[in-house]
Symmetry: D2
Subunit: 136 residues, 4 copies
Amino acid sequence: MSAEHELELRVRYAETDQMGVVYHTNYLVWCEMGRTELIRDLTGVSYAQLEAQGVALAVAELSIRYHGAARYDNRIRVRTSLSDARSRSVTFEYLIVNADTGERLATARTVLVSLDKRGRPVVMPEALRNQLTAKL
Amino acid sequence: MSAEHELELRVRYAETDQMGVVYHTNYLVWCEMGRTELIRDLTGVSYAQLEAQGVALAVAELSIRYHGAARYDNRIRVRTSLSDARSRSVTFEYLIVNADTGERLATARTVLVSLDKRGRPVVMPEALRNQLTAKL
Amino acid sequence: MSAEHELELRVRYAETDQMGVVYHTNYLVWCEMGRTELIRDLTGVSYAQLEAQGVALAVAELSIRYHGAARYDNRIRVRTSLSDARSRSVTFEYLIVNADTGERLATARTVLVSLDKRGRPVVMPEALRNQLTAKL
Amino acid sequence: MSAEHELELRVRYAETDQMGVVYHTNYLVWCEMGRTELIRDLTGVSYAQLEAQGVALAVAELSIRYHGAARYDNRIRVRTSLSDARSRSVTFEYLIVNADTGERLATARTVLVSLDKRGRPVVMPEALRNQLTAKL
């Protein structure tokens, strides 16, 4: 009983850099894939639909620590959890591991704020906030 | 009985641009995912292993036509086929469709050449060429 | 007297892949930078402004041949020229070279079509077409 | 008298997302461009040369706060400063602003660790550390 989602993906060649490992910003793209799926699980609609309804959640702040390196063709697991939800913001946390070895690769945290169509911070629709926090 | 592979993926937010559709070069990243999987199917090893053995296949030439637009969160199907294999090059063809509607989004073709560790064109190892062409 | 633009850029680390060279789709991003600047030169307004006015030019077709490899921190020169303009489409051609050595790295061609706000092909505004073709 | 570098760049279309602004991880790519140039200024050699000599500096930790949005075709200024250098790590800080309006867009911080060719943390070569810290 918790607000959590796990996804698996395979590292793309395009995601590597000349150090032979995944370029560091790509882990953050995987985090976004994770929260897309967690939002779908919690709300029953896709973030694409939320955005079409005028709800935008924009990253306001993020931090990430790298513990190991992901490499081309590795299978990666991203565990996303919702750790906090306020009237204007939600916080997600992420654990990224190598799905084959279990090696911990990165831990991250993002704070997203609710924006209106003009890009100004607004209070999140109450129904949405209730869905997001139902399992907190 | 053919050298063909199908994969499915979901469009990432990071892959969109301000026109509200997938940025045009990202379809080519999906093509690469397709040929990675087709090579795995045909050879029984991953392209990552081939590269570790000193075999590099580099894109020498590509073309793509866009017929429709992929959008965020769409489910996409990429059908990859090997259409030609010569001593120093292999040609792959791709059909990208919306997996839900069946709408054809793009058709592409890439020619890859075999390179040695210094980046010079070389004849492909015969065993590899035989595996690639076994089902042609 | 010609519709041509040259820009220089330096290869970013993020643009490399584990082969130690620029990932092949990134050359196409440089092509887009080139046509952005050529359009600015020819029309006196930015493509950003054109798009705000409801004119979208979307890539419908592209091809590229790779002749050499760009590497991290290389200085790159992109020469963009407009080679054809019709009522609904414009064609750009590109030559990408290493700015220090003069080595030819890639040649490319893109066909862009004029779209309305719903993404349907439309005739390009006549004023825009005249500006684009004034130096052809 | 300080370890600081400023660069300017123009936002690429490829860097935008469907929210109509720059996709959030791309600011971190700009940060890397900034530290590439600051390292060149401080050491007299490029990071490409350092890496060829076996010195790798990998991002171990980063954080970023977004204060405003960068948009397509905006001119962006990235101010990079070196704020700390230890035997095995260096810390860079970044301020990203809209170069035309002066609006503050993001502030970031990255900690990089020195790695050997096998990817293990090592003490940075003393000469390099001295060059990096000469102006601290």
